[in-house]
Amino acid sequence: MALSWDVLALDYDAEADRIGGELRRIIAHECKRRGLVVALSGGIDSSCVAALATRALGKAKVFGIHMPERDSSAETIKLSRSVSDTFGFDSVLEEITPVLDGYGCYRRRDEAIRMVFPEFGPGWKSKIVLPGLTGGELNVYSLVVQKPDGTIEKQRLPLPAYLQIVAATNFKQRTRKTFEYYHADRLHYAVSGTPNRLEYDQGFFVKGGDGLADVKPIAHLYKTQVYAMARHLGVPVDICNRAPTTDTYSLAQGQDEFYFALPYREMDLCLWGKNHGVAPAEVAPTVGLTADQVERVYRDIDQKRATTRYLGLAPQLVGAIPEIKH
């Protein structure tokens, strides 16, 4: 029997109440802080967390930060401001481009890109992509560049170039988190992380960057549920209708081409099916794939869990310290 999309249905009012209760308990009793800092990207996840936090804590106890940088879409700041305006909490704009310049983020990334495209320079744009579900390939990244004349070229990334591009780009997420903790320390607030379930499960975050937080209020929600929750809570429609993007590379980049094998809706159902022991043949007709393709998505889920396990590991100790409990 085909798996129904309805398995992802939720009572959003009840779930928002439950998340709100947990947020109040965690921030007051576990963190012993007075409010919550939310970095606003203009995307669905951070907007949903901001809406949930405002509902749970009141707008006076939520502080937003807008942190676009040189490669962000022109829309980013307009969208993120629409969230703080809609929910009425205080927010600040932090210009992180000069900080990233100071770290050499852009210079180091471009140096790695020139290992593959030596003529890369001003006027060029870039992004990295995965092969997707079409072949039996391993998850090997390619670099896509757009030249100043608009032509597009694509090349497989040798490992040193790939690692340096990712390492340089990770300055962005880690710099943002530094500003989040600056404001959290100043206000005696906790810091939120905004991963949805797909991102949390599949390790789609930067360790010490967007992966670092005191509380992750929507990590248990599938992305489909995050969209529905955001709509339920009145997140601006322009955000609810926008496709997920990484907003990290200078060429527009969908999350599905960067990381996930499928668009989020289909990916959600595959992950739900796998988590609940549903056979690929039952998931396949609902998501419009063959059973073999769903089987491959299941394997890819396991592979990403294995590859990214390190990202979620707490610091490893080599001797027991029983007096300290986490």
Binding site: G136, L138, Q303
Partner: protein, 87 residues
């Protein structure tokens, strides 16, 4: 030079894995036919390091369409692929 035989490549790949991924601990070396992905010893980054190693050691170029588990997912598969390509 005689054609490269797979057994020689297997030894070289295993030595590379032990030296570079296992800090010299040969006891943890993968069985020759153990799937890297299934055993979890070597992830996709590790596979790319192995590809770079065989490309530079045996002066071969692995094409995008050759990056498939049948060619790369165990010491034995990788060695057979390299021997055929370099032979």
């Amino acid at each position: 030079m005689s054609a490269l035989d797979a057994a020689t490549v297997e030894r070289a790949v295993t030595t590379f894995i032990v030296d570079n991924f296992l800090f010299g601990n040969a006891a943890d070396a993968p069985a020759r036919d153990a799937s890297f992905m299934e055993t979890g010893l070597i992830d996709s980054t590790g596979v790319l390091e192995l590809v770079a190693f065989v490309e530079s050691t045996y002066a071969i170029k692995v094409g995008d369409d050759e990056l498939v588990p049948e060619n790369l997912d165990s010491v034995a598969n990788l060695a057979a692929f390299v021997a055929k390509k370099a032979g």
